[in-house]
């Protein structure tokens, strides 16, 4: 009996072992980084101005990136979820393009259009006096470029999960297309949209390659970590890495808990 039960459960057992290995591969480096520093160590590191400035910059630049991705990504996600049009597959590929571009290449591409002589950078500089090379604005556009697909794809899944009948029912009850979006589609896709925004935030914080090209200074945390590693070695950089890890984990878990547990109700 045990043998037959073992046979039927065999696939599950093998899968569980493989899953455990995969999880260990993820957890081990993270746990090791966290545990290799005493709280005193971390406290000392955190009071260094360059460290807390870099971590703070990473957090708020990523937050701005999330807002920008929300504003720009949700309408596109809605159109992709709801409409059929010529060239749709091209648009879908374009949305996913940043996922396949090496991030240094992404940085160079972003710099070419947002730099002082770029097609976006030049007029914005002329009209508003805003520059992107070596500025927070540059960091945000680089972060947005690499993380945008997460917003669109996640929100799109959220919208696709809503039956078109529900939206049409709302129209027959007198709601305009915008009212339907506001009162029905947006609340029902809320979870997908927020997951997208969270993924954008997480991806933006972790971005190195693209940000490195467009704005080495002011330093975001990943650039500071690389900088410290090259100058002072593993020990100096790993303390900042552990600190960034702890802060992002706490914020990520809190946001996930607050946003995704919220009951979506009008």
């Amino acid at each position: 009996m045990f043998a037959s039960k073992y046979k039927t459960e065999r696939t599950l057992i093998v899968f569980s072992i493989v899953s455990a290995i995969a999880l260990i591969l993820v957890i081990a480096p993270v746990a090791n980084t966290l545990l290799s520093h005493s709280p005193q160590d971390l406290a000392n590191t955190s009071i260094q101005p360059e460290v807390y400035n870099a971590i703070f910059l990473s957090l708020y630049a990523a937050l701005f990136t999330s807002f920008a991705a929300l504003v720009l990504g949700v309408p596109l996600a809605y159109i992709l979820a709801r409409k059929q049009f010529a060239g749709k597959s091209i648009v879908e590929s374009l949305v996913d393009l940043p996922l396949v571009v090496p991030h240094t290449v992404a940085g160079i591409a972003v710099l070419l259009v947002w730099g002082r002589t770029g097609i976006f950078g030049a007029p914005i500089n002329d009209i508003f006096g805003v520059q992107f090379y070596g500025t927070v604005a540059g960091i945000i556009v680089a972060m947005l470029f690499v993380s945008f697909p997460f917003m669109v794809n996640s929100a799109r899944e959220g919208f696709e999960g809503i039956s078109p009948d529900i939206e049409q029912a709302a129209r027959t009850l007198g709601a305009s297309p915008f009212e339907v979006f506001r009162r029905i589609s947006l609340p029902l896709a809320f979870r997908g949209i927020m997951v997208g925004a969270l993924l954008v935030w997480a991806r933006a914080i972790s971005e190195f390659g693209a940000v490195y090209i467009i704005a080495y200074y002011p330093m975001t945390a990943p650039i500071l970590i690389a900088d410290q590693y090259l100058q002072f070695g593993l020990k100096a950089s790993s303390a900042i890495a552990a600190l960034l890890l702890i802060i992002t984990l706490i914020v990520f878990v809190l946001l996930r808990f607050v946003i995704l547990k919220r009951k979506v109700e009008e």
Binding site: S163, D165, I166, Q168, T172, L173, E179, E265
Partner: protein, 360 residues
């Protein structure tokens, strides 16, 4: 007091074509669009609701052209197959949803009355996900009716329910709509639903509205073989009129001569339809006034609850429906010799006009 008219409507949707739809539904009429899956019933309903627009043709509501009027300006109630309740709102908020856009005098009282009429007062704070199919349907009906729509469109609202609930709700829908008094278009593939609910029925197939009439007209006098098959005339034969004697024609159907009441002249091609429930079976000596009596052998008995479908080989195949009790009384079994009887007046005759016939 609202009438709906569809004039010469055409719509191409990929491989599917809605063709030459002409239909007028009178004020407060309960009109059922009956047809098999893929006939275009929902497409027609969607044109009236404004979910899509015809390539050519017009939709008129009270003689006003609404063909390209946005959905939210049409004041049309629509009941979807899955009821399409808003899962992010309670029952009460679902019902109130449209009152923000349409001004309903004394709205709170109206909602209360409607919820009482539909017996959903106790559901007011529940969420759609916790409701049964029947409850969802009543809430969806309330959500539409509170806005006093000009027209109510129902797209197979009973198709996802079990047989017992279906029957109860079908009667309920009829009663409520009669009470409210609203022009209604109801789409179904279920003939019983159509007969029970309809003031008039329109038969649709392959994007065309083939026949419109009362249930008696459609079910007893189908205009062609296609409709005849769809409305349950299982015994259909093609033949040529060999004799006509004072309105009693003899039709050669190949292996037999069938007599029917008609004034079609000798030599014409006709299609004959006989409902399986109009066929009588007997054993032994037969005394009957029926004009058509054939000997045959039972080939198959298919139990359908209290009724059996009996397939009989009389040189040509006939399907008969008889009660289980009659089957037992006649000791029916495979290969039993029996007599098959049906009246000439129960044979429906369609003059062939060389239409292309297809299976439904």
């Amino acid at each position: 007091m609202t009438s709906v008219e569809v004039q010469n409507a055409y719509l191409k949707l990929g491989q599917f074509n809605l063709q030459d739809i002409n239909l007028k539904v009178k004020s407060e009429e309960f009109f059922v669009i009956l047809g098999p899956s893929g006939a275009g019933k929902t497409v027609l309903l969607d044109l009236i609701a404004g979910f899509s627009y015809p390539d050519t043709g017009k939709i008129l509501v009270d003689d006003e052209d609404v063909t390209f009027l946005p959905i939210e300006k049409r004041r049309v109630g629509y009941m979807f197959q899955d009821f399409a309740l808003f899962p992010n709102m309670s029952v009460l908020k679902n019902i109130k949803f449209g009152t923000r856009y349409y001004k309903i005098p004394n709205v709170e009282n109206r909602i209360g009355e409607l919820m009482e009429l539909l017996d959903i007062v106790q559901l007011r704070n529940r969420h759609p996900t916790t409701l049964s199919g029947g409850e969802k349907q009543r809430v969806a009906l309330a959500r539409s009716l509170i806005l006093e729509p000009k027209i109510l469109l129902l797209d197979e609202p009973l198709s996802s329910l079990d047989a017992r609930t279906k029957e109860a709700l079908r009667d309920e829908i009829k009663e409520i709509i009669e009470k409210v008094g609203i022009t209604t278009l109801y789409v179904t593939h279920d003939q019983v639903e159509a007969i029970v609910l309809a003031d008039r029925i329109g038969i649709m197939h392959d994007g065309r509205l083939l026949q419109v009439g009362s249930s008696d007209q459609v079910f007893d006098k189908p205009q062609d073989e296609l409709i005849a098959r769809f409305v349950g005339m299982e015994n259909i034969f093609k033949g040529i009129v060999k004799a006509n004697c004072d309105g009693l024609i003899s039709v050669d159907v190949g292996n037999a001569i069938i007599e029917a009441v008609s004034d079609i002249a000798v030599g014409n091609k006709v299609t004959l339809g006989i409902r399986p429930e109009n066929i009588t079976l007997q054993v032994g000596e037969t005394i009957s006034s029926a004009r058509n009596i054939f000997s045959g052998k039972v080939k198959q008995i298919i139990p359908l609850g209290p009724i059996n479908k009996v397939k009989i080989d009389c040189g040509f195949m006939l399907n008969a429906l008889i009660t289980k009790r009659s089957s037992e009384f006649l000791l029916l079994s495979k290969d039993r010799e029996i007599k098959v009887l049906f009246k000439a007046s129960n044979v429906y005759v369609i003059a062939d006009d060389d239409r292309l016939f297809g299976d439904i």
